[in-house]
Symmetry: C2
Subunit: 171 residues, 2 copies
Amino acid sequence: MPHLSPINGKQSIQETEQAIEIESIDFFVRMMSILGMPRSVGEIYGLLYFSAVPLPMDQIVSRLGISIGSASQGLKTLRSLKAVRTSYVAGDRRDHYLAETEFRRLFSNFIKEEIMPHMESAKERIAKMEEALPVQDEKSAEFYKIRIEKLKRLTRAGGRLLPALAGLLKL
Amino acid sequence: MPHLSPINGKQSIQETEQAIEIESIDFFVRMMSILGMPRSVGEIYGLLYFSAVPLPMDQIVSRLGISIGSASQGLKTLRSLKAVRTSYVAGDRRDHYLAETEFRRLFSNFIKEEIMPHMESAKERIAKMEEALPVQDEKSAEFYKIRIEKLKRLTRAGGRLLPALAGLLKL
DNA sequence: CAAACTTTTCAAAAAAAAATGAAATAAGCA
DNA sequence: TGCTTATTTCATTTTTTTTTGAAAAGTTTG
C-alpha cells in the first residue's frame, strides 16, 4: 500500500475531504439503491452532498470516473426528484449543480413522483377485479369480497399515509 | 379474439376466478417490484392471495408456468418475509402454501428484514466520516460538521420512524 | 431401508437494467 | 451568423439480476 500521508502521520485536509467524499458516495449509493435508483445516481448525489461549491457536469464525470451519458442521465433523474438544482456561476456557461439537502422535501418528492403513480394504477386493477366479481354468486363470493376489500383498504391507507409520511419525518 | 363465454353471455365461475387471479397477479407483481422483489415472488403471492385453499408447489409451478427453481426460491423469500405459511393437508406429503394477508404484519416484517439492516450499515459509514473529520480544522470543517449532522438526523429518524410505520397503517 | 416423491441448490442461460460513447442537438459567445 | 463549448439522446455494450433445469439432498412410507 503506497504511503499517502505526510511524514508526521497526520492526514492532509485533502485526504480528509477525500475520505469523507468516499464514505458519502458509498452512503448514498446504498441509500439510492434501496429506493431502486441506479448506482450512478447515488454516486452523483453523494459527491454533491459534501461539495461546498456547485460542480459542473464535467467535474462530476471526471471525479467519479463515469461517462458523460451516465452523468447527464443521472442529473436528469436527480433534477426531476428535485434532489439537485443548478446554480449560476458568473463567467462560466456550464450548469453547476448543488445538492438539495433537505431530506424531508426530497422524500416527499420521491413519494409523489415514484410511488403515487403506482397507487393509482393499483386502484384501477382493483376496479377490474370488482367488475369481474358480481357474476360470482356461490359461497366463495364472500371470500373474494373480503380479499378485495383488504386490497382497497391497503391502497387507501397507502394513498393517505405515504404522502403524509414526509411530514412525520422530524429531522 | 376467441369466444370464451357461454352462449348466454354470462361468464362462468371459473372465468370470473381466472379474471380475478390475473388481476391479482398483476397487482402483486407490481407491488413487489416497487419493493425490489423479482417478478416470480409477486406472481406466487398474487396467486396465493386469492386462493381459498392452500396450494402445493407443483400447483404454483403449473398454474404460473414458472420453473420449480423459481418457485422454490420465491417461496423461500416469501417465507422469510412471513408472507406465506405452510399448512398441513391430511394425506398429502407436499407442503401447501397459504398467503398471509395481514398487510400490517407483512409490512412490518419487510421493514425489519429488508430495510433496517441498511440503516445499521449507514450508521457505521457515518461513524467513519466522523473519524476522518477531526483533523480538518479550517473554516470548511463547519460545513462538513453540518452535513454529517444532517445524515445522523436522517438515519436516526429513519431508524425510529420506519419500524413505527406499520403501526400507523390503520387498515 | 429402498423406492418414490418432493424440495433445494447452483451452474448456465436468458432477460433486464445500467453504462458507455459518439452523433445530434442546443446554447452561449465573437 | 458561424464557431465553440456544453448537454442530451440513443444504439450498442457491459453488467447485474432473474430464471431455468438438472443434479443433489431430503422425506415419507410401503
